[in-house]
Subunit: 689 residues, 2 copies
C-alpha cells in the first residue's frame, strides 16, 4: 500500500510498520490480523532482558521484618479466630462504631494485647500493633490511636505522676475511654490561636472551661460522639490577678475534662456534644463536636508537666517562655506522626501487593496468534506500579529508621535527637502520606473494573487513608516546618553550630554542592555511573543544597519589601519543593545504607535494583531542574530516562518476589483478585457462582 524505498526517512518502512501497528493496536477499533510473522511474539522488552535475578523471598523478607512480628501474628490470629469481629464491606456508621469498640475491647481484654504499655516504653512494639490492627480495619487503628496515643499519651506525657496514678489503669483497660480535644471549628493547624478558655477560680480552686464562640467548638474529636468519658481539652489558661480585676492569658494548656458520667454514661452538665456525622472514611471512629458552658474541673486536672498553677493562683513552669512551653507540649505529641508515617507505608504495601498480584494475573491483548500477556508486561503498567514498588521499599527503610530513632529519643531524651526526630517525623509523615494517597488512586485505576469492587479494598483503603494527609498536622504545614528547620541548620552551618545526624550532609558538602556543576561528569552516561550510589546521592544533595541556598537568598530579598510573612508566602512553593527534596534525600540515603547492610547477596541485589529505580525515577521526574543548570547534559538526561524505564522492566521481573517479601498473607490482603492461587475462582465464588 505504501511506496517502499521512499526517500523520505519518516515514511517508507516505518510508515508501513506504523500502519500495521495502527491496524493491530488501535485496540478497540482495529482488530488484530491473523497473518503476522512469528517475530512478533516478543512483548517489547524481551530482547533486552538479562538473566532474571533470582530473589530468595524468605531471606529478603527476613531482612525486612521488624522485631515485633510475633505480636502482629497474635493480632492476625485473634481476629482470624473471631470472624464476628471482622468488619463487613457494608456496615452502617453506627454499627461500625459499635463493632470498632468491640474490636478494641476484644484486643485488649480478650487477646490480652495492651498497647498503652508500649506507648512510652516500647514505641516500636506499639507501632507494630498499630500496623497489624490497621490491616484488620483502619478505623480500629485510629480508634486505638485516639485512646492510647492521643488521649492516653497526653495524660502520661503532659501530666505528672498524680495523673498517671489516677488514670493509667483506666486508660489501659478501657474503663476510661477518652478524647483528645485540640482542634476547633475555626482552628486546626494554627493551634496557638485556639479560643477555648480555662479560667482559674481561686475561690473554689477550679478551672472553668468555656467555649467563647461557635468558632471555638471542639470539632472532629475522636471518641467524643459515642464512647468517650473524659477528654484532654486544649484551652488558653486564663489566670486572674490577685484582685481579680485583670486576667492573664498564659497560653494553651491541656486539661482533663470529664464529659460523660463514668457509670451512667450521661453527658455531664455544661457539656454539649454533637455527632460530626458521616465521614469520607474511618466511620468506625465516632468523631464529635464539643461545646463547653462553664464546666468546672479541679485544679489538679491541669496536665501540669510544663506549667502549673498553685493553690493561690501563681503560675510556675520550668520553661521560661510561653513559646517554649507550647513547643514542649506539642513536642510530646510527635509520636502520632511517627505512627502515621509508619502506618501509611503499611497501607502502601497492602495496596501495592493487591495491584501487582492482580496485574500479574490479569491478561489482556497480546501478540498475534499468541496468548494474551499479563498487563504488568505493558511498559505503561510498569511505569505506574514499579516506581511505586521501589518507593514502598524506600519508605519502609526510612520509616523503620524513624521508629528506631523515636524509640531512642523516648529512651534517652537526647536534645539533638528530639530536634532530628521532630523534623524527620514531620517530613516523612507529609511526604509518605501524600505519596500513598496518590498511589491508592493509581492502584485502583491500574486494576480496572475489578479494582472498583469494594471487596478488592482500594475504596476503603483510600477513603480511610485520605485523612492521613491532614490530621496530626496538615502536610503543607508540616513541610514548612521541615523547610524552616533546614533554614535554621543552614544558618547554623555558617556559624559552625552543631548539625544533627540527618542534616550532616549539608555541613559536609554544601560548598561543593553549590559550586558549578562539573561539565565532564555532567556528560557521563554509562550505566555503572548512573547506578553508582555516589552519583545518585550527589544529585539529590545537589538539588536540596541549591534549593536551600536559593530560597535563603530569595527570602532575604523579599523580606525587605514584604516583611517576613509576605516573603515566606512569596517563596512558599519553593520552600515546599525544598522540603520534599530534602526528605527524598534522607530517604535515599537510608535506602542506600539498607542495601549495603543487607547480609544476603541475592536479597542485596534485589534491593540494589529497587534502590536504583527509586533514585533514577526521582531524578528523571525533576529533570527540568537538573537540565536547567546543566547538572546533566541532554544525552545524560536521555540515558537516565532510558535506564529508569529499563529498571522498571527489571523490577517487573521480580515483582512477585518483591511483594511476597512484604509478608502479607492472603488473610491480611483479603482482596479476591490478589489471592495467591485461584484468584478468579475466589472472586466468582464471592459473587455467588
Amino acid at each position: 500500500m505504501e511506496p517502499r524505498n521512499n526517500p523520505n526517512p519518516a515514511s517508507g518502512d516505518d510508515t508501513e510498520i506504523v500502519s500495521r501497528r495502527i491496524e493491530r493496536l488501535s485496540l478497540h477499533l482495529n482488530p488484530t490480523p491473523r497473518t503476522l510473522p512469528d517475530g512478533d511474539r516478543q512483548i517489547g522488552m524481551a530482547t533486552c532482558a538479562r538473566p532474571k535475578l533470582e530473589v530468595d523471598t524468605g531471606k529478603l523478607s527476613g531482612y525486612m521484618r521488624g522485631p515485633h512480628r510475633d505480636v502482629q501474628e497474635k493480632v492476625f490470629d485473634y481476629f482470624e479466630s473471631r470472624p464476628e469481629l471482622q468488619t463487613p464491606l457494608e456496615i452502617s456508621k453506627n454499627d461500625h462504631r459499635e463493632l470498632c469498640w468491640r474490636q478494641l475491647v476484644g484486643l485488649v481484654r480478650e487477646a490480652g494485647i495492651k498497647p498503652f504499655r508500649y506507648v512510652a516504653d516500647d514505641p516500636a512494639k506499639y507501632f507494630a500493633i498499630l500496623e497489624a490492627i490497621g490491616s484488620v480495619d483502619m478505623s480500629l487503628g485510629i480508634k486505638m490511636g485516639v485512646q492510647y496515643s492521643l488521649w492516653g499519651g497526653s495524660v502520661i506525657n503532659l501530666g505528672t505522676q498524680k495523673h498517671k496514678d489516677t488514670y493509667f489503669d483506666g486508660i489501659d483497660n478501657l474503663d476510661y475511654p477518652g478524647c483528645f480535644a485540640m482542634t476547633e471549628l475555626h482552628h486546626g493547624s494554627n493551634v496557638q490561636a485556639l479560643q477555648t478558655t480555662a479560667t482559674f477560680d481561686p475561690i473554689t480552686d477550679e478551672f472553668i472551661i468555656n467555649t467563647p464562640n461557635d468558632g471555638a467548638i471542639k470539632w472532629w474529636i475522636g471518641n467524643a460522639a459515642v464512647h468517650g468519658k473524659l477528654a484532654s481539652v486544649f484551652a488558653r489558661l486564663m489566670l486572674p490577678s490577685h484582685d481579680s480585676k485583670e486576667v492573664s492569658d498564659m497560653g494553651v494548656h491541656a486539661f482533663i475534662v470529664p464529659i460523660r458520667h463514668l457509670d451512667t454514661h450521661e453527658t455531664l452538665p455544661g457539656v454539649e456534644i454533637h455527632d460530626c456525622g458521616q465521614k469520607v472514611g474511618l466511620n468506625g471512629v465516632d468523631n464529635g463536636a464539643l461545646r463547653f458552658n462553664s464546666v468546672r474541673i479541679p485544679r489538679d486536672n491541669l496536665l501540669n508537666r510544663f506549667g502549673d498553677v498553685s493553690r493561690d493562683g501563681k503560675y510556675t513552669s520550668s520553661l521560661p517562655t510561653v513559646n517554649k512551653r507550647f513547643a514542649a507540649t506539642l513536642g510530646e505529641l510527635v509520636g502520632g506522626r511517627v505512627g502515621l508515617a509508619y502506618s501509611s507505608v503499611a497501607v502502601l504495601k497492602l495496596a501495592g501487593t493487591i495491584a501487582i498480584r492482580y496485574s500479574l494475573l490479569r491478561q489482556q491483548f497480546g501478540p498475534p496468534r499468541k496468548p494474551e500477556v499479563s498487563i504488568l508486561d505493558y511498559q505503561s503498567h510498569q511505569h505506574k506500579l514499579m516506581p511505586m514498588l521501589a518507593s514502598t521499599y524506600a519508605f519502609h527503610f526510612a520509616t523503620s529508621y524513624l521508629v528506631e530513632k523515636y524509640a531512642e529519643m523516648k529512651r534517652t531524651h537526647d536534645e539533638q535527637l528530639v530536634g532530628d526526630v521532630h523534623a524527620l517525623s514531620a517530613g516523612l509523615k507529609a511526604y509518605v502520606t501524600s505519596y500513598t494517597a496518590r498511589s491508592l488512586n493509581v492502584c485502583r485505576e491500574s486494576c480496572g473494573g475489578h479494582g472498583y469492587a469494594a471487596v478488592n479494598r482500594f475504596g476503603t483503603l483510600r477513603n480511610d487513608h485520605d485523612i492521613f494527609q491532614t490530621f496530626e498536622g496538615d502536610n503543607t504545614v508540616l513541610l514548612q516546618q521541615v523547610a524552616g528547620d533546614l533554614l535554621k541548620r543552614y544558618q547554623e552551618k555558617f556559624q559552625g553550630g552543631a548539625l544533627t545526624v540527618t542534616w550532616n550532609y549539608l555541613r559536609e558538602s554544601m560548598n561543593s554542592y553549590l559550586s558549578q556543576p562539573n561539565p565532564v561528569t555532567a556528560r557521563w552516561e554509562g550505566e555503572d555511573h548512573l547506578r553508582d550510589p555516589k552519583f545518585q546521592l550527589d544529585a539529590f544533595r545537589y538539588r536540596t543544597s541549591r534549593l536551600l541556598q536559593s530560597v535563603a537568598v530569595r527570602l532575604r530579598k523579599h523580606s525587605t519589601t514584604l516583611g517576613g510573612f509576605g516573603a515566606w508566602n512569596r517563596c512558599l512553593n519553593h520552600l515546599l519543593t525544598l522540603a520534599e527534596s530534602h526528605i527524598e534525600t534522607v530517604i535515599l540515603a537510608k535506602f542506600i545504607e539498607a542495601v549495603q547492610n543487607c547480609p544476603d547477596p541475592s536479597a542485596r541485589s534485589a534491593l540494589k535494583l529497587v534502590c536504583d529505580l527509586y533514585a533514577l525515577n526521582r531524578i528523571w521526574n525533576d529533570i527540568g531542574t537538573y537540565r536547567n543548570v546543566d547538572y546533566v547534559a541532554p544525552n545524560k538526561a536521555k540515558a537516565i530516562h532510558k535506564l529508569a524505564d529499563y529498571l522498571s522492566f527489571q523490577v517487573r521481573n521480580v515483582a512477585r518476589e518483591l511483594v511476597d517479601a512484604f509478608d502479607l498473607p492472603d488473610n491480611v490482603t483479603r482482596a479476591p483478585i490478589a489471592m495467591q492461587s485461584e484468584a478468579y475462582s475466589q472472586y466468582t465464588n464471592y459473587v455467588g457462582f
Copy 2:
C-alpha cells in the same frame, strides 16, 4: 543573636530574617511573636498586584452557558420539589438502588423529562440532562446512561427499524429496563476476545446464547442485579455450515436477550444472575454478573444493522470484513465517551467550586498582629487550585466543542467527522477523567479536615467519579487509540492525504515544528511574548510534533527486532505522552478560540488570564522536554515559572467570580462549607448546634 553585616552573603540579614521566619512560621512549634513591625502585614503577593480585574460574572456566565439550561433547571426544580427523592449521605446499597430507580421513574414519568428521545436526535440536550441529574446523584446519571445511552443506544444504533418499532416506547417509558452486556470477567478492553457465543440454530430459527467458561461470565453489567428485564448481549456469532459439520465464527455481534420475565420479573430459564456487590462508588447502580446456559432467542433479536443472518443461515453485511463490522458496531457507541468527558468536567466544576469557596472562607495564620488570612492567599494553595480552575475552563470549552461536533456527526454522518469525533472523544474522555480524578483528591486535601466530612461531598464525588477512568474504555487504552490515530495522520500527511479539522496543525506546520528551535526566540522572555497565543500554541504543537516524529522513528527501529506488538510496547510511555500532548494542544487551541470569540471585553479579559495560566502551567510542567532541546533558554524557563505563579495569584483575585460563572447554585453544590453565605453556621447547624 546573629552578627549583622556578616560578609557572607548567605548569612547576615537574611539569616536573621530566616531565623524570624522560623520562629514565626514553623507553625506548630514556634509561636508568633507579638512584636513585629507593621511592614509584615503583606501576605506575599500584594506588592506585585495590579488593579484587580473587574469580572462581570453574569456576562461570563452567559457566554459559558449551554443552550439547554432550561431543561437543567427543570431537573433541579423537580428534585427540589421532591425531597424524599434526594439521596441521603448514609444509605444502604439496596436502598440506594431502589431510590435511584424511583428517581429515574420520577424524572421520566412525573417530571416528563424523556432523555431517550434526545440520545440520537439532540445529543447536546441529552448530555445537558445527564449533567444536571449527575449533580443530583451520580448514580442516577449512570443509571440513566445505562438505560438510554447503552441499552437503548445499542438497540437504536445497532438494530434496524423492526427493533425500534418493538422496543423504543418500552425503553423510553421504562417498561423495558435493560442492560448492556459487553464486558466479561476476563475481557474488558479487549472486546474482540469476548467468548460468549450466539450459535444459530437453522432448525428453530433461533440463536443459542452460551457462556462457555467462567471467564466469559458477563460482569459489571449495570441494571442486571435488580431492575433489568432485557439485555443487549455481545457475543460471537457462530454460524453452522450447511451440513452443520463446521461452525464459522463471524465475530462479535449484539443480541437482544430477555433476562427476566416482563410481568413477574422472575429470572428466565438458562439465565443465572448474581449481584456484583458493593462497589467503591455508584452504589445506586445495580451491577450484576450473567451466565447463559443455552438461552434461545429468535433470529430477529440479532441487532442486524451491520450484519444479518437470513432464514437459511446465510450471513450478509453491507461491510466487507469482520473488522469493519466490528469498528462500525463500536463506533456507534462513542456517545458514551462524549457523555463521560462532558460529565467529568461538571464534576470538576462542582468540586472546584466547593474547594475554592471554602478556601476563600477559611482563614488560618497571618501576619503578626493582623487578622488571619484566607488559605487561598497562600501561594501553595493557589498552586493547588488555580491551575485546576484554569483547566476546568479549558475543558469546558473543549468538551462543549466535542458535544457540538458529536451532534453534527449524528446529524450528517460525515465520514471525516466520524473519525475526528472518535479520536477526540477517546482522547478527551481519557485526559479529562484522569485529570478530574486527581483533582478530586487535591480538592479534598485542600479543604483539610472539613473536606473529610461526607456532607461536603468530596468523598462521594471521588468514589462515584473514579470509575470514569475505566468504563467506556480504559484511559490507557484510549490514549493508545489517539496515538495510533496520530501516527496514521502522520503517515497520510506525507502522502498528501486528507486531514480532519483537529489535526490540521500537523499538516500546516509539521515541517516548521521539526526544524531546529530558533535560538533567538528561545531567549525571548517578556510577558507579552509569553502571553502571546502564538507562542503558547507553537510550543504545544512543537512538543506534539516532535513526540510524533520521534516515536515514528523509534517504532520503525524496534519493529525490526521486536515485531509490531513488541515495538509498540517498547514505545508505550512515549506514545501515551504523545497522545496527552496532542489532546492538550487541541484543548489549548479551542480555549484560545473561545477567548477570541467572547463578545464581552471584561469576560474576555478574564478568560484570557485563565487561558494564559492554563498554557504556561502546562509548559512549565513539561519544562524538561523544552529545555532538553533548547526550545527555551534557561532564563526563559525561569520567566515561564515566575509568570505561571504570578498568573495563579492574578486568577486567585477573581477566583470567586470565576467559580460563580459556573452557575452552580447552593442547592446544587449543597456542601455546607461552600455556601455563599453563613457557611460556618450552616455547617454547625447541620451537626446539630
